[in-house]
């Protein structure tokens, strides 16, 4: 027993090693541990890796890696976080310390185009998004958030610490716990905080720490496909991390902690391939074949969602999948080709799932737009006033109720009175929750609940006026503008058209094959917006201070003069004006010159005469005579 415990500790400490020999040791160890777990709940965990590939229209390919660690332990128990096995310790400690019940983080570069690409497995806005449900035991939620944001930003090398009170809110309706939660959480969102950083740039430094949380790191399994160069060359890539408590068994008698890490990429195959052909393969998407499954993963699969049944596909999938499935989700048929990585990579073989078009002209470019998609943009011109408009399209033949949430920064001061929801010039009744912004303290928080009419476009619009910031509040690139985070639209759709994710309670993607839900929880994020704010001149604070103070001084000086002095008579002849003074000054100068001249003259005369009167007197007399005249 003790030896096994030690072995377990070692397994925690050492990362899974590479070569096939050590793989064997790993497998054995894992085997023992799973056996043991029946008796010991502490290490009862399970890891699954999945790659979901969906060729999109016009030669785009969507790939979504999903790594799920399910730990059969309760998140509410402090003792849970004493011993770790597959669950990353770095994350577990953060969860414990800040009383986190649910944590959802996404770091995204690029914009997901719902109209063309349908819905991703996890929808994410451009930039970073973090939303957290805290445990009821947390007394000061705002402080816990600040600390957590700092810890998480350290963990993922991102600037989440900039999510302060200025851009976080407590959504009232749009976000509910995604995992197990007590009944109280259904009505009150006191323990929840939602923050976004639309200008956050996601790069390799975010990928590396995220990857390190995986039990296999990138040494084995699907994560060997991670290639930063290919990811950042993609049109869209998104890192996701979701922690939530879930049911450990179908009867839900026990709790488990689920950590789901996802990485989504949309690659434009046509423009990135050398030949301009839309053929795709693991090698072309990620620059590598798949050589192994992660040895500790209990499931390692690649699922390709195909638009039609395999026989009628415009491209040929190779190698032949382990199994092909046609599933009815709601009323829509979905076709999947499933590859079991482990069986494909046995005996040193490599797996390179590929889709090869026989007829390039048959590229899928007639994809049906998903039931709900949106487009949001800034209206108005100039740097004074403006507006935000969001067009929400409903392609369903039925009414669809949705929740719309918008978080607008304080410096774009929203006029609530201008808020309108219209559909073909008819006003749509809506329910609203609005928290106005406070300067430099909190953002505007708008949540709307309303109905989208069948086959129609609903317009949500409101106006704002731009605030003038202090010169120190502008970033160094002040004229780049300021970002407004995406609006979030949440809906429970009756159709699974273009829907890719599993149902809400499910942990793994492969549960798609067995679920039978008829409602599909959808959350879409719109475009984030960029607004320019009027800028002051940054180069001359001193001049401005001096000039404004001068004006004050003019007033103060004049008033001081007028109130403290009194009028007196002044003899003009005694007191000369400036011109008179100048005149006299020049005339004196003249006199001096003439005096000198006379002196000189006198001296000359003296020389000539050798005997004479004193010249200065003479000149003085002369000048006197001049003055009198």
């Amino acid at each position: 027993m003790a030896a096994l415990d030690r072995a377990k500790d070692e397994s925690d400490a050492t990362p899974p090693s590479l070569g096939p020999a050590s793989d064997q040791i790993w497998l054995d160890l894992n085997f023992h541990l799973t056996e043991l777990s029946a008796g010991n709940a502490l290490i009862d965990d399970e890891f699954n890796e999945e790659l979901f590939i969906k060729p999109l229209q016009k030669g785009y390919v969507y790939s979504n890696f999903q790594f799920t660690t399910k730990w059969n332990a309760t998140i509410h128990h402090t003792d849970t976080f004493r011993h770790y096995h597959l669950f990353p310790k770095a994350l577990g400690e953060v969860l414990l310390k800040y009383g986190v019940q649910e944590l959802h983080l996404s770091q995204t570069q690029g914009l997901w185009r719902h109209k063309q690409w349908g819905y991703p497995v996890h929808d994410a806005p451009p930039g970073a998004e973090l939303w957290v449900w805290f445990k009821p035991s947390v007394s000061n939620v705002d402080k816990a958030w600040t600390d957590l944001a700092n810890a998480v930003s350290g963990l993922f090398c991102s600037s989440l610490n900039f999510m302060d009170s200025k851009n976080i809110i407590t959504p009232r309706w749009s976000f509910r716990p995604q995992g197990l939660a007590s009944q109280a959480y259904a009505f009150r969102s006191y323990f929840m905080r939602y923050g976004t950083l639309p200008h956050e740039i996601v790069c390799t430094e975010n990928l590396t720490p995220w990857r390190k949380l995986l039990p296999c790191d990138s040494n084995a399994g699907l994560s060997t496909l991670f290639n930063a160069f290919h990811f950042h060359d993609a049109n869209y890539h998104s890192l996701g991390l979701h922690v939530r408590p879930v049911c450990a068994n179908p009867e839900c008698t026990e709790e488990a902690i689920e950590l789901s890490q996802s990485l989504s990429i949309v690659t434009d195959v046509v423009s990135t391939s050398n030949t301009g052909a839309p053929h795709w393969s693991l090698k072309s998407l990620f620059g590598n074949h798949l050589v192994s499954a992660c040895p500790i993963a209990s499931k390692s699969v690649i699922i390709v969602e195909t638009a039609e049944q395999q026989a009628s596909l415009p491209y040929r999938l190779s190698p032949n999948p382990t199994l092909g499935k046609e599933i009815l989700r709601g009323e829509e048929k979905h076709n999947y080709a499933v590859y079991d990585v482990r069986s494909f990579t046995q005996h040193g073989r490599v797996l390179n799932v590929a889709g090869t078009y026989e007829d390039v002209s048959r590229l899928i470019d007639d994809a049906v737009p998903p039931p709900i998609h949106a487009h949001r943009y800034i209206t108005g011109y100039g740097l004074a006033d403006g507006g935000i408009t969001c067009l929400i399209h409903n392609t369903l033949p039925v009414n669809q109720s949705i929740l719309y949430m918008d978080v607008v920064p304080w410096f774009t001061r929203v006029y609530f009175s201008s808020l309108e929801v219209t559909n073909k010039d008819h006003k749509v009744p809506f329910k609203v929750h609005y928290v106005p912004a406070k300067d430099r303290l909190r953002p505007h928080h708008l949540e709307l609940a309303f109905m989208l009419w069948p086959h129609s476009t609903t317009r949500v619009s409101f106006n704002f006026t731009r605030a003038f910031l202090k010169w120190t509040e502008y970033p160094p690139d002040a004229n780049h503008g300021f970002y407004i985070s995406s609006a979030v639209i949440s809906a429970l759709l009756p159709s699974s058209l273009e829907y890719t994710g599993p149902s809400q309670g499910a942990s793994e993607l492969s549960t798609i094959f067995t679920e039978n839900s008829t409602n599909f929880m959808t959350r879409i994020h719109t475009e984030s917006l960029l607004v320019s704010l009027p800028t002051p001149d940054f180069s001359m604070p001193y001049n401005v201070i001096c000039l404004a103070c001068t004006v004050l001084a003019i007033a103060f000086g004049s008033m001081h003069n007028l109130t403290t002095r009194r009028f007196v008579k002044e003899d003009l002849s005694k007191k000369k004006g400036v011109i008179a003074k100048l005149k006299s000054f020049f005339s004196r100068k003249k006199k001096e010159e003439t005096a000198k001249e006379t002196e000189k003259l006198a001296a000359d005369q003296g020389e000539a005469k050798s005997e004479s009167e004193s010249s200065p007197t003479a000149s003085y007399d002369n000048s006197n005579a001049e003055e009198q005249s």
């Binding site: 011109y381 100039g382 740097l383 004074a384 006033d385 304080w410 001061r413 006029y415 609530f416 009175s417 609203v432 609005y434 928290v435 106005p436 912004a437 406070k438 300067d439 430099r440 605030a467 003038f468 910031l469 202090k470 010169w471 120190t472 009027p534 800028t535 002051p536 001149d537 001359m540 604070p541 401005v544 201070i545 000039l547 404004a548 004006v551 004050l552 003019i554 007033a555 103060f556 004049s558 008033m559 001081h560 003069n561 007028l562 109130t563 403290t564 002095r565 009194r566 009028f567 007196v568 008579k569 002044e570 003899d571 003009l572 002849s573 007191k575």
Partner: protein, 439 residues
């Protein structure tokens, strides 16, 4: 009774405003920073209404800065014919009526006051003695100035709530001339409650009512009686202010509004450009000096009360006028609404105009800045071809013009006083012309 001319002018002014209301001008003016400020903008009042209808306190946001009682009473604007425009036209007509009443009452006051002081005047100052005939034109002039004053017209068209404060100040002014202490302090309290700065106008009011209570002209303003009278006026004023504050609290059930209204005026968090000296100064100010300079600038707006009160103890109306003028220059969010008030009252001192020295320069500065301000703002905000400094420069010119004008009027007033007591001819002992200067 008003003469036919006054009626005609009044009707004419209403016609001008109604005609202009039907153009695109009001919409444009409502967004002009010179005409409306965050405090006086009607758009922000509407925002307050709509937040209130959602049961969200308007004071939780940062757009609404009206007082709680204004929030509740301004709703009547929606029940006026032509709604908001109609309401502000009505306010404008009221302003005009009170200006007319002030003018007629002030003519009487001037003549009576002159009669009292005549015995002290120099015999050589006969040409300066005001006559009923000369002053008879004053009511007409004042109504005419208000009718044609572009500042008043712009304020009315832009539906700026500064008009309400102006009306309250005018009613207080009028009751001060009538000698009604109760109504005068009441309306002054209303004005102070609305926009804080009129609180300093209580000084001339207190001085006036003490002076009025004395049988003969008071010798000293530091006697026991005077202190008693001042305290009485101040406590009535304080009582009204307290009542207004108390009602606001009862209506709002919290003191949050204090920070959104008076806190907003005093701490200047909104740096939207306006015609004052605050916005760009505090945009460019270094953060650690901000508090100091906010205090300095706010003190600057009211500090003149003290020296002026000492200088013009005997002339409470002129003191009140100068204070109205100075606070409208140096308040944190000034607008053309404030300019409109002192311009409309300016003809009251038409008898000192001949002593003014730089009317041409001041007039030129006013015209330049009023014309150039929207142009430079457009170049900065919309065309992007100018920057903030351009607009800042023009607001400085405007402030300087106002300062020149107010100092010129004070100078002219003092100069005329000097002439009244020393005659208009100033000769040296040797018979040559002497010059009068401040020393």
């Amino acid at each position: 009774m008003a003469s036919a001319g006054v009626y005609l002018l009044g009707i004419f002014s209403v016609i001008i405003r109604v005609v202009l209301m039907n153009t695109h001008l009001p919409k444009w003016l409502r967004s002009r920073n010179e005409v409306v400020t965050p405090i006086t903008s009607w758009e922000n009042v509407e925002e307050g209404f709509s937040l209130q209808s959602q049961l969200v306190s308007p004071y939780t946001g940062d757009l609404f800065h009206e007082t709680p009682l204004a929030l509740r009473s301004l709703k009547i604007a929606h029940y006026f014919p032509y709604r908001v425009s109609g309401f502000f036209l009505f306010i404008d007509v009221l302003v005009m009526v009170f200006l007319y009443k002030i003018a007629t009452a002030f003519v009487n006051y001037l003549l009576c006051n002159q009669e009292e002081e005549k015995k002290n005047y120099s015999l050589k100052a006969k040409s300066l003695i005001l006559t009923g005939n000369y002053l008879a034109w004053l009511p007409l002039t004042i109504v005419g100035v208000h009718a044609l004053n572009p500042f008043s017209i712009m304020t009315t068209l832009a539906a700026s709530t500064a008009a309400l404060t102006n009306l309250a100040v005018l009613i207080a002014f009028y009751n001060m001339i009538l000698g009604n202490r109760f109504l005068s302090t009441l309306f002054l309290a209303v004005a102070s409650y609305q926009s804080l700065y009129p609180i300093v106008f209580i000084v001339p009011v207190a001085l006036h009512f003490y002076k009025k209570s004395c049988k003969s002209p008071p010798v000293s303003y530091t006697t026991k009686e005077s202190v008693y009278s001042f305290t009485e006026t101040l406590s009535i004023f304080g009582l009204f202010l307290g009542l207004l504050g108390g009602f606001s609290f009862l209506a709002e059930r919290s003191w949050d509004f204090v920070f959104s209204t008076y806190g907003f005026i005093l701490s200047v968090p909104d740096l939207t450009p306006n015609i004052g000296v605050f916005w760009y100064f505090f945009t460019e100010m270094f953060e650690h000096f901000r508090t100091l300079f906010v205090c300095v600038f706010q003190l600057n707006a009211v500090i003149y009360t003290l020296p002026l009160a000492i200088k013009f103890t005997e002339k409470p109306f002129f003191l009140l006028y100068v204070l109205i003028f100075i606070t409208s220059i140096f308040k944190s969010y000034p607008s053309y609404g404030d300019t409109a008030l002192y311009f409309s009252l300016l003809p009251l001192w038409s008898h000192v105009f001949p002593y003014m020295r730089n009317t041409l320069v001041v007039g030129g500065m006013y015209i330049c800045s009023v014309v150039l301000a929207p142009i430079l703002y457009h170049l900065w905000i919309f065309a992007g071809s100018a920057n903030a400094n351009f607009y800042f420069a023009i607001t400085l010119v405007y402030s300087t013009a106002q300062i020149f004008l107010v100092t010129d009027i004070v100078f002219a007033y003092l100069r005329r006083e000097y002439d009244l007591y020393h005659g208009t001819e100033h000769l040296n002992p040797d018979g040559t012309k002497a010059r009068i200067k401040l020393d």
